[in-house]
């Protein structure tokens, strides 16, 4: 793993040079306008950029839950409504597809010396985005309950099933397992994780033709069904809020949840000391004899709009660099699993880092992956509920994908 290894050295260096960077925030005139989601880590980045205001530099932000709905229209307008957009692994795709963001190579060369090289998201050799946070779903387990049932911490999903059975047999819990299996995006994300862990792929190589209705796809679904067999019957309504609440109430022994939820789970709020002290974070398990953890890694980063003036683009990039300075990262150390220099991984980051070190794959950036994700989310719950076969569910998902991909121009 490249990024956390270099972190310590880089942050030491950056701390030395940091003071000068702070004073040199004087970027010159320009308008920085930012669009992104509304949560604490991004609020901290925006606050960092706002600290540079003055001397003709204005920084305005629109952090909203509806950001993804706005991004294409907002950046298509000329001049674009926003110069900076915070994107994630999947939401950069429509911007790339519509050619709305600019290559950052020159800006990186000029102002981005402090960045870790691994932060640069390159497509065809051109830097299109700068990543600054990461996230992944991974395993949470309760050491006390596993010990009580006499099982080891699971390393594979097969182990998870065995441990769940042992817990059930010992009469400790009726429903010891939970995943984020709400119908729709969440359920599809579990399928994606498991399918990649099984070594599967989603498309015929080099095309947008679907390739999930096969043995690997069936095995993926069977594993998901086996897991939800140990979940509360409400599992099709489980989003992150539900699984986190169940965990904090001490109702679960093992769960796959987002790394970004670890901070909230490990603080005492909403939970008892007994639960918190026994909560262990581990990398995502492997599955079906696969070598890499069955999860996908996500990054969050920023892009710069194409339809803004070069001056504003340069000002925006510099404002972002100032916001992502090692001091700012260190000051908000626990708000996220940062990729930028200045970060010291805390206990809440353990699961994400272990998954990454285990060689987990990034979430696929294929342009039609979003359509595949949606088709999966809408079609596999019927199999889990037992009202159709795995093959039928996969065939339905493929058919729904093909119809959508034709409308979007990926297939003819």
């Amino acid at each position: 793993m490249q990024f956390w290894k270099t972190t310590a050295a880089a942050s030491a260096l950056a701390l030395l040079s940091g003071t000068t960077a702070m004073a040199a925030c004087g970027i010159g005139a320009g308008n920085v306008t930012i669009l992104g989601n509304d949560f604490p880590a991004l609020q901290a980045v925006v606050a960092g950029a706002k600290a540079c205001e003055g001397d003709g530099l204005t920084v305005e932000a629109n952090l909203t839950t509806e950001h993804d709905k706005l991004q294409v229209a907002a950046l298509t307008a000329d001049p674009a409504q926003y110069s900076v957009k915070f994107v994630a692994t999947s939401s950069i795709v429509p911007l790339l597809q519509n050619d709305l963001i600019r290559p950052l190579d020159e800006l990186v060369a000029q102002y981005g010396q402090g960045l870790n090289p691994s932060q640069l998201i390159k497509i065809d050799g051109k830097v299109m985005a700068v990543a600054f946070m990461s996230n992944a779903q991974h395993l949470y387990y309760r050491s006390d309950i596993l010990a009580q049932a006499g099982v080891e911490a699971p390393a594979t999903y097969e182990d998870v099933l065995a441990a769940a059975q042992a817990i059930k047999d010992a009469g400790i819990m009726e429903h010891p397992v939970a995943l984020n299996t709400m119908t729709g995006w969440n359920l599809a994300e579990e399928f994606v994780n498991m399918h990649l862990g099984m070594g599967g792929s989603f498309f015929e190589p080099g095309t947008a033709q679907p390739a999930i209705n096969n043995e690997t796809g069936v095995k993926t679904l069977e594993m998901l069904k086996a897991l939800v067999g140990y979940s509360n019957p409400d599992y099709l309504t489980f989003d992150s809020n539900a699984t986190q609440a169940l965990w904090e109430a001490g109702e679960l022994a093992m769960a796959t949840m987002w790394g970004s939820r670890a901070g909230g789970i490990l603080d005492g709020e909403g939970s008892t000391d007994a639960v918190v002290s026994a909560t262990m974070l581990a990398g995502a398990p492997t599955v079906g004899g696969g070598a890499t953890p069955a999860t996908t890694l996500w990054w969050d980063g920023f892009v710069i709009a194409k339809n803004v003036s070069d001056e504003d683009a340069a000002a925006s990039f510099q404002a972002m660099m100032a916001a992502l300075s090692p001091e700012n990262i260190a000051a908000n150390n626990d708000a996220a699993v940062w990729l930028a220099p200045g970060y010291t991984p805390g206990p809440a980051a353990a699961g994400v880092i272990a998954s990454a070190r285990g060689g987990a794959q990034p979430y696929p950036m294929a342009p039609s992956m979003g359509l595949m994700h949606t088709a999966l989310g809408n079609n596999i719950s019927e199999y889990l509920q037992g009202s159709e076969s795995a093959e039928q569910a996969l065939a339905d998902a493929e058919a729904a994908y093909v119809a959508a991909a034709k409308e979007a121009g990926f297939l003819n």
Binding site: F39, N62, T64, T65, A73, A74, L246, S260, R261, E269
Partner: protein, 293 residues
């Protein structure tokens, strides 16, 4: 209505009273529960362990040292500056209601007084317009609004809400004007008034009950709207409902659900006052206006 007409046999009165009491409990219970719960911590109000925590406040005791906490209110109003959203909502709602009603009374009056077939077809088209899902319309506005620099401003959201609400307003007010006798304005016109003067001096003074009722529905639409305000307003101009949505967090990030609960309870207060204030007019408005299909 005279006493003889309203008097009921004891059995009927009993059934009716039981029914009303049952309904009042059903209608009020979730709200009362929410008001109570807004003074607890999330671990109590949204407990997966035991719902009685919400009553006893076990976690609230453990986390704050007292059975009640104002943390949700403080977080929403002070930390996250919910008052800004409240001010924006007030502006949006007041202007939406005023403009909606101005346009609606003029149009509704015309539709009620015109005997031509096109008036009927206009009403039908208005119904088709009302059937259009808001979210589809709003997505269509985005690109032109960004291009023309109209996006993000309060007046834009206001005029969109007015337009989206026009079909319902027209229908309701048109039916209301049908109930005002034609002789009133026609005799004024015989006396030499123009149509507008007749409207202004004869109709306006008697139309208030119906207008206020229609206004209530415009008010509720603008007040509770999410689709329009969440997509068309920038963060500085954000209204209450999208602000509340931002408290809820997302898949990856935990939100502050208790901020949202406290904000919702606070957001209901103006509605309380408004309805208590206009209660008589609302009912008498529908009385006179009562929409005739």
């Amino acid at each position: 209505m005279s006493a003889a007409v309203t008097r009921r046999p004891p059995a009927v009165a009993l059934i009716a009273t039981v029914l009303v009491v049952l309904w009042v409990v059903l209608a009020a219970f979730p709200f009362v529960w929410t008001v109570w719960g807004s003074f607890k911590v999330q671990g109590d109000f949204f407990s997966k362990a035991d719902w009685t925590y919400a009553l006893t406040g076990v976690r609230t005791m453990a986390e704050t040292g007292s059975p009640f906490t104002g943390a949700g209110y403080e977080g929403a109003w002070v930390e996250r500056e919910f008052w800004r959203a409240a001010v924006n909502t007030m502006i949006v709602v007041v202007f939406t209601v005023i403009i909606s009603l101005t346009f609606g009374t003029l149009g509704g009056y015309a539709l009620a007084r015109s005997g031509y077939r096109y008036a009927f077809w206009l009403l039908m088209i208005a119904l088709v317009f009302r059937a259009m899902p808001h979210i589809t319309l709003v997505s269509g506005y985005l690109l032109p609004f960004f291009e023309w620099n109209l996006w993000g401003h309060l007046p834009t959201a206001i005029i969109v809400l007015v337009a989206i609400n026009q079909p319902f307003t027209l229908w309701m007010l048109h039916s209301f004007f049908l109930n005002i006798p034609k002789d009133l304005d026609e005799s004024a016109m015989v006396d030499g008034c123009t149509r507008f003067q007749a409207f202004r001096h004869v109709i306006v003074p008697v139309m208030w009950p119906g207008v206020i009722t229609t206004g209530l529905f415009s008010f509720l639409l603008a007040y509770n709207d999410f689709a329009v305000t969440a997509t068309l307003l920038s963060q500085q101009n954000q209204t209450m409902v999208p602000k509340i949505a931002s408290f809820l967090g997302s898949t990856q990030v935990e939100g502050n659900v208790m901020f949202a609960v406290a904000a919702v309870v606070s957001a209901t207060v103006p509605l309380f006052i408004l309805i208590l204030f206009f209660q008589r007019q609302i009912v008498s408005g529908l009385t006179a206006g009562a929409v005739k299909g």
